[in-house]
């Protein structure tokens, strides 16, 4: 009978589609910031790219926590760093965000705005004094009250340079440039001496470069971007000068950190940012480079280097908030951050930890030299990445900068366009 067939078909499609239509974003909006109560229950802890090298550390940490709180069970999920934001967004939209999530401040901002990040000022304000003031403040969102993640580890990479390339260009390899203007001058000399064969930098300026050059990135209220001021234009104009002289690598417009790192390894580029971890890599993959490696602080014209901050966010919709808060605090407390710092080249965000002799005394090796120098610079470091600066905004800035470097528009026009596009995206974020 046609009617019954049609009815059956409609019912089948409805049965199929209706449950699916329940999927999608949107929380219940009824999350509370109360995290008091007994620490118990099963929680999920998500990190990125840590299992491969630190499996034992985290399994031990979790076992200790479960021993301290016998009624808890922590399930650890680790995912590759590639596309991590997409994975979190899929979880957030699907309502399956883990209880404790490893985040950077720019990832916290949209989650906090969507009501998915727990306000720790309200739920765990008693722990604030345990952390460095700047680190605790790094997970505050302009336009919102509250702090939305426990600060975890900090980092600030040193800048590596190839001493032999400096020597060939007639520069003193023991006196590396420290400010942007010094870098630009050195870069032009190296390009000139090598007929453009050797570039000094391999990446176009990012928002952090503008910050370290002394450009105001946003207005005081955090409601609009401001990096198109005279100083910003000046920075971009200097980069254009480098690009034209081949002191900036011609492939910089499409470079990724990996590709520019490879160029530094092959001696095509004279300077490259990195971390203490890179030293072992140089020793293994480029022994000749390792013999000539120079290590200096990040380039900055403000006197403050850039600080990268990692945090642990607690899901505001977690059913086990007391356990989640307790665990996030446990992972980020002074003792555990210190023990993690001894496993890998990171720096604790807890108050007083950087005064530990581990971060203040050199033993003559390059590794300790890098560690001590980085720890020292972290005391006055600034997180120059605005928490509201999304991936889409990074692309807008990068594209406009590329147009300026190619001469398709002036540095002023490029930055005006970038600010306009970023402001539009900011407003669309709500």
């Amino acid at each position: 009978m046609p009617t019954s067939r049609r009815t059956f078909a409609v019912a089948a499609v409805a049965a199929l589609v209706l449950p699916l239509s329940a999927c999608g974003s949107g929380g219940d909006g009824g999350s509370s910031t109360d995290a008091s109560g007994k620490v118990e229950g099963d929680i999920t802890f998500q990190t990125w790219n840590l299992r491969a090298n630190f499996k034992d550390y985290f399994e031990g940490l979790i076992a200790d926590f479960e021993k301290k709180y016998p009624d808890t069970h922590v399930k650890w999920v680790d995912q590759p760093g590639e596309g991590y934001a997409d994975k979190i967004s899929a979880d957030a939209a699907g309502g399956t965000l883990p209880d404790v999530v490893n985040v950077s401040p720019d990832l916290v901002a949209p989650l906090a705005k969507a009501g998915l990040a727990l306000d720790l000022d309200k739920a765990a304000g008693q722990y604030e004094k345990e952390y460095l003031e700047g680190a605790w403040a790094s997970h505050r969102i302009p336009g919102m009250d509250g702090t939305y993640a426990f600060p975890w580890y900090l980092n600030t990479g040193p800048l590596f340079y190839n001493k032999s390339l400096f020597e060939k260009a007639g520069l003193d390899p023991e006196q590396p440039p420290r400010t942007y203007d010094e870098v630009f001058d050195a870069a032009l000399k190296i390009a000139d001496k090598t007929d453009g064969e050797v570039a000094t930098l391999a990446n176009v300026p990012t928002i952090e470069d503008f910050g370290r050059y002394g450009v105001p990135l946003m207005n005081k209220e955090g409601t609009a971007f401001a990096f198109n001021d005279a100083k910003g234009v000046q920075l971009l104009a200097r980069y254009k000068e480098l690009y034209d002289a081949k002191a900036l690598d011609p492939q910089a417009l499409t470079a990724t950190p990996e590709s520019s790192g490879k160029k530094f390894l092959t001696g095509a580029v004279a300077m490259n940012p990195g971390s203490a971890l890179d030293l072992a890599n140089f020793k293994k993959q480029a022994p000749n480079l390792y013999e000539n490696i120079g290590i200096t602080d990040q380039i900055t014209s403000t006197g403050h280097v850039n600080m990268y901050v990692m945090g642990l966010m607690v899901n505001a919709q977690s059913q086990r908030k007391p356990a989640a808060v307790a665990f996030a605090h446990y992972v980020t407390d002074a003792a555990h951050q210190m023990s993690f710092a001894k496993q890998v080249a990171i720096f604790p965000s807890t108050a007083g930890s950087l005064d530990d002799p581990y971060f203040t005394k050199e033993d003559g090796t390059d590794e300790t030299r890098v560690r001590v120098a980085a720890a020292k610079s972290l005391k006055t470091a600034v997180n120059y990445t605005p928490v509201l600066f999304s991936e889409q905004m990074k692309t807008e800035l990068r594209n406009e900068v590329a147009k300026a470097l190619q001469g398709k528009q002036s540095p002023k026009e490029a930055l005006d366009n970038a600010v306009k596009a970023c402001d539009r995206l900011l407003q669309q974020q709500g």
Binding site: S4, S89, Q392
Partner: protein
């Protein structure tokens, strides 16, 4: 032991009632057989399609459901430079890749068609790029075409200067097209091999007796015989080319080449619609345009085929 009969009761009732019950059950049973397939199709094709269509009329973001905005997203597309760049690059990709993928695999299939000793090795070798991961293929070509890669080293050895395969806007696009063609050759070659196997040998023999050379036999016998396969290849490759993502993404980088000038429409969908701050509604509108253009492409190819038949 369970009875194999459908009903119980008197023989008469069993006969009549059983027949009626079988008739009543028939309309539903095909649906039950089709249910698993329908469920999968519905969940992974139909629902995302309808959802994308609905989202394209909203200002939905990753973490915000959004509201109905009518045609606002489509109006914004008209004023978005990046959309036009994406449309241009995706269209250029079709124009650059499809003719090569229609002709070159046919020539390759003719080469490996003959059953001579060792030919299986060549068939497998030509097919290898098809089964290789696109990421692996892309990375290999990035290494080869790098400013200090093998290709540029060879050019320098021959006295030339390095070519910016991965830094020039147009060369990046051409390089990506080359990779797409290289990777697709084996796949379409297999399709042509199947078609060539059905071309009657007598036609070639008759043409040869009439004095036709290899080129003439190719044009007057082979091409007409595999014309419908060529149309199929054109349709498949044009849709795939318009939706290109991986090759360009790997060669041009996540920002889509210098100043995003190599961005394709699908790259734009990915860039705009993903992440915690993704504009799902706007990205959906771009997806709807991609869908519409691919449908038009298919119709154009099929219409051209019908004209040839008439």
């Amino acid at each position: 032991m369970a009875s194999p009969t459908l009903t119980t009761g008197t023989p008469d009732a069993r006969k009549g009632g059983g027949a009626r019950r079988v008739r009543r059950q028939l309309p539903a049973s095909p649906w039950l057989f089709a249910a698993p397939g329908l469920l999968i199709t519905g969940a992974f094709i139909l629902y995302p399609f309808v959802s994308t269509l609905v989202n394209s009329f909203t200002d939905r973001r990753t973490l915000v459901p959004g509201e109905f905005v009518g045609l606002a997203n489509f109006r914004e597309l008209l004023h978005d430079d990046m959309f036009w760049i994406g449309l241009r690059n995706s269209s250029l990709y079709v124009l650059g890749v499809v003719p090569a993928l229609v002709l070159l695999p046919l020539l390759l299939a003719l080469l490996v068609q003959k059953n001579i000793p060792g030919i299986t090795f060549f068939r497998s070798a030509f097919y290898t790029p098809v089964v290789a991961s696109i990421v692996v293929v892309g990375l290999i070509w990035v290494w080869l075409l790098d400013e200090r890669g093998l290709v540029n080293s060879l050019l320098e050895t021959l006295g030339g200067s390095p070519v910016g395969f991965l830094s020039d806007q147009w060369l990046i696009l051409l390089s990506a097209m080359g990779v797409t063609v290289w990777k697709g050759l084996g796949y379409y070659m297999i399709i042509y091999l199947a078609a060539l196997a059905n071309v009657p040998r007598e036609l070639h023999e008759a043409a040869a007796v009439d004095g036709a050379g290899a080129v003439r036999r190719f044009l007057t016998v082979t091409v007409p015989a595999v014309r419908s396969t060529m149309v199929l290849v054109a349709a498949l490759s044009s849709v795939a080319a318009f939706k290109v993502f991986s090759e360009v993404y790997l060669m041009a980088g996540p920002s889509g080449g210098p100043a995003g000038e190599d961005t394709t429409l699908v790259m734009l969908v990915q860039r705009t619609g993903t992440g915690l701050t993704g504009r799902v509604g706007y990205a959906s509108a771009i997806s709807v345009v991609v869908f519409a253009v691919t449908v038009v492409l298919m119709l154009l190819v099929l219409r051209a085929d019908r004209k040839e038949d008439a």
